[in-house]
Every structure is written in C-alpha cells, then in structure tokens.
C-alpha cells in the first residue's frame, strides 16, 4: 500500500531515532574491544584510515581494510546484522544505483556489454564507500557522542563549534520527537487522503510551527545558560587519559592507513 506523506515522514523520523538508540546502547557495551579505546585515538585513527582508503588505488588493499573493519566490529560486539541493516545495505543500494550504469557506460575493453574499466570503477566506488562508512560507523557505535565531541577538541576544532555541535545533537532528538508528535496528531485527525495542495500547506505549516518552537526554545535555553553563569565563553571538561594500549591502537591505525595508501599508490 502506498504510504502517505505523513506516514513516510514518521517512518523516516522514527528510523533516525532508533539508529541513535542502537548507537548509544552499543557504545556502552563494556566488553567490546573498541569501546575501551581512548576516543581521541579512535577519532584520529579512523579518520586516517578513511583518508588512506580514499587515497588508495589498489582494490585489494581497500578490501583488506574492509575485512579489518569487520573484524573490529565483531571484537567490539557489534552485531553484523545491525551493520548490514543500517550501513551496508543502504550504501549498497545507493552506490549500486550509481555504479551499475558505469559498468556499461565507461569506455574501455569490452567483455560482453560491460567493460573491464567499467567493472573496475564500479568496484572501486562500491568498495571505497562500504569501507569508509564501515569505519565511521564503528567510530559511532563504539564511542559515546559526548566523548566524540570532546575528542574533536583535540583536533583543534574551535570550542564554540563543539558546543554548538553538542547542543544540536541534544535538541535534534527533542525536535524529532516534536515533529513525530505533530505528524502523528495530524495522522489521527486526517480521514482519507489529502490533495497535494493541502498536503503542501500542511507540510509548510508544520515546518513553520517547528521553526517557531525552535526559536522560542533557543531564547529560553539562552536564559537558562545565563542563569548558570554563561557570559560568552564556553568551557568543556574532559576526563581523557591515554594509556599505553591506546598509543598502540593509534599506531595500528596509522600504519594500516599508510600501508593502504602506499600499496595502492
């Protein structure tokens, strides 16, 4: 049955929230390998890996990193089924659509309707996308968001940016819930299907109401911040302490990243 605009939007919003719940639960899994690694190490190391994968011109090297990611996922108690559902399948569908025509359209040595070059380029695209997204998913699934934010400070990201990022994440869920509630209430008050013009008006009104609420919320939050002493400077407290094993992990990430890029140069 074709879903209405409201139903589709509700589904989308709810999906976003359930992935977030999954990520939080997964990050709290104490027995996982990656969960215990210093967030700063994970951030820097995984970024290096993604860059290495991006720079590499060797399919097998990129494939090796993908396998490494799968291994790390298993070691960190991340269910491969979850990874497949939330990460691998969507990327396959999206990149697959892009890569498939390239198999036939790319000029080169023909085999059947496809070309060797076409197959190679499709392989690169798919493998790079899947590997990169696996690495970043591992980062998110094994690190608490608040720690991730604090780790970004180490990368010299401005404090105010990190604070805004943190606050955005926090209010994202409030907004998702509000939007969901608005849609659900409309759904319960709608009999039959609305014509497109009405749906558009509904959509823009929803957006407008959400915007008004956002503005009011931000004014109130500003007052609450001032009430507890905020006067324009933002400070963050972190409790990171790198141990020897963290440095080992960092070394591992960087060596692999360099190797992938070098092998495929």
């Amino acid at each position: 049955m074709k879903r209405t605009f409201v139903e589709k939007s509700i589904a989308g919003l709810a999906a976003g929230m359930s992935f977030a719940a999954l990520a939080e639960a997964s990050a709290r899994e104490q027995s996982g390998a990656l969960q215990r690694v210093d967030p700063r190490v994970k951030l820097a190391g995984m970024f290096a890996l993604i860059v290495g994968v991006a720079a590499s011109h060797s399919l097998s090297a990129i494939g090796a990193v993908f396998l490494l990611a799968v291994t790390l996922a298993i070691a960190s108690r991340v269910a491969l089924a979850d990874l497949a559902k939330w990460v691998w399948m969507p990327v396959l569908l999206f990149s697959g659509c892009i890569a498939l025509p390239a198999v036939f359209l790319t000029p080169g040595d023909r085999i059947g309707l496809a070309t060797v070059q076409g197959l190679r380029t499709a392989a690169f695209l798919l493998l790079r996308a899947e590997t990169a997204v696996s690495i970043s998913s591992l980062l998110v699934l094994t690190t608490r968001w608040s720690n991730l934010l604090k780790a970004l400070r180490v990368l010299r990201l401005p404090v105010v940016f990190v604070v805004i990022l943190g606050m955005t994440y926090r209010y994202l869920f409030l907004m998702l819930e509000t939007a969901l509630a608005m849609f659900e209430s409309r759904e319960s008050r709608t009999v039959g299907v609305l014509d497109p013009a009405d749906r558009r008006r509904l959509a823009t009104a929803t957006v407008g109401v959400l915007l008004s609420k956002s503005y009011q919320l931000s004014s109130e939050v500003h007052l609450a911040m001032q009430s507890r002493g905020f006067r324009g400077e933002v400070y963050v407290l972190d409790e990171f302490a790198a141990r020897a094993v963290d440095w080992a992990w960092l070394g591992l990430f960087f060596v692999v990243a360099a190797a992938v890029a070098w092998v495929g140069r």
Partner: protein, 265 residues
C-alpha cells in the same frame, strides 16, 4: 522576624509584546524565608521570578539583591555577575530548556565550569550533588533518555551544585508523576529552617502550606495579597478573584448547588 533583606522589588513594571506582565509590583524577601508566589497562569509570577534572577529587567521600577541593584549594566561587571550567578539559582518550569548539555554529568558540571573552579573541585562537587539528588546512576545518560522526574532532578542538581543562597523554582511539580512530585516537595520542605532562601512560583494550592512560610498572591501582574499561606488559602473570595478556584454548579432537582472547586494539576 527574618534575617537581612535578600530581595527588594519596588514598583516593577514589565511589558512584553503589548502585554503588561508586571504592573507595579513591590515586595521584599528576607533571608532564610520560604516564600510562595501564588497565581494562575499569566499572573506574572514567572516573569517576577526571572526578574529576581536577573534574566529580564523592569521597564520601570527597581529590583535589588542584598542592596545591590540588578540591572543589565551591573551584570556586565565580572565580579558582580560571578557572585550573583553563583548565589542565586533558578529552576525553570520546562526542564528541556535547562538540560542543554550532552550528558547529565556535563549538565551538572556546566555551572561550576562557568565559575572557573578547578577540575578537582568540579569533579568532587558534581559527584556529591548527583548523589544527593539520587542521579549518580544517570551520569552518562543523554537528556532525551530521561523520564520527567529524572529530568527535574537533574535540573535541580545543576543549580544546587553551585550551592546557591537563593533557590527560585518555577512550577517545580508541573507535569510530574505523583512520586516525583512528592520527592520534590520533600526537598522543598527540607530547605526549611533558614538553610536557604526559597521562592517557589506555583498555582498548585495543595503545595503551598507544606513548602512555604510566606505567601504572595498575584493576579494579572499585580500583587493582590501578602499573608501567611493559611490566611490566603482560607480566603475563598480572594482565591476566586485570583482565578485559582472556580465555582462549580450542578442541579439537585429544582435547586442549584454551587461549591468552590479546584483542579489539581
């Protein structure tokens, strides 16, 4: 009778968008007293509370804290602002406004961070406050995964951690389940005996006698009465005028039966 004067408000007028929120209010709050600002929604009690916390300033009239005027300019002075923000704390009605950090720990630590306390002191005070408010187990929880009662406790903790002399609370029991409500009420009772100066804004008549020694009745931006809680609660006519109770009429055969009626929220 009481101690030195904490707050003095003289003929404060405040307009917001063509609405007169405060229409010439004058009152005095003594140190160590527990007071209630009693009034229906729109009576101006929230505005007055915010004014006492230096979040908005009167269009005419004055507000002062321990003899020092609370004005925008005065709060630009670092020393005064630092002192004032620590000594006076406001718990907002809507906890979502007050919980803007990624985790509960960060939230409680926000105030001390703004006060530039040392890391060791911050950690110690935050841990102690979280234990007092029974939220230590929620330390790493993001705010969107807290129940209403938990959010309220975190909000209170985030203010208490600074050990303020004055606690301002805006509708502290609103939208809480009965158990959470009684926990808050116990807290409010516990602050009696001159330990802190507490000013609670509420329209909940059932709350008043337990938590306050002094009651200010507000209606449409004006202070209409100042007496002990029991005196005000027993004055039905006054309560009706202030829109805190209403008359409920039903028929018994040919006779009409009227009795005053109050809704508990």
């Amino acid at each position: 009778m009481g101690g030195p004067l904490m707050f003095r408000v003289e003929s404060a007028v405040f307009r917001y968008n063509a609405v007169v929120a405060l229409d010439g209010v004058s009152l005095e709050i003594e140190e160590g007293k527990r007071s209630v600002l009693l009034g229906a929604n729109g009576s101006g009690k929230s505005t007055l509370l915010r004014m006492l916390d230096g979040l908005c300033f009167p269009d005419s009239g004055t507000v002062s804290f321990r003899g020092a005027p609370i004005t925008g300019e005065h709060l630009e002075d670092d020393a005064f602002a630092h002192d004032f923000r620590r000594r006076v704390g406001l718990v907002f009605q809507n906890p979502d406004v007050q919980l803007f950090n990624p985790t509960v720990f960060d939230e409680v630590a926000f105030g001390p961070l703004q006060m530039r306390w040392s890391k060791a002191e911050i950690l110690a005070r935050v841990e102690a406050t979280m234990r007092t408010m029974e939220i230590a187990h929620l330390k790493d929880r993001p705010p969107h995964r807290l129940s209403g009662g938990e959010k309220k406790r975190v909000a209170i903790a985030s203010v208490l951690v600074l050990d303020p002399e004055v606690l301002l609370l805006d509708e502290p029991t609103a939208a809480l389940d009965p158990r959470s409500q009684s926990q808050i009420i116990d807290l409010l009772i516990g602050w009696g005996g001159g330990k802190k100066t507490v000013i609670t804004a509420t329209h909940d008549l059932g709350l008043v006698e337990d938590i306050a020694d002094d009651c200010f009745l507000m209606q449409q931006g004006k202070l209409v009465a100042h007496a002990t809680p029991s005196a005000i609660l027993n004055d039905e006519a006054l309560l009706r005028v202030a829109n805190l109770i209403h008359e409920h009429r039903h028929a018994h055969g040919p006779a009409m039966h009227t009795h005053p009626h109050v809704h508990r929220t």
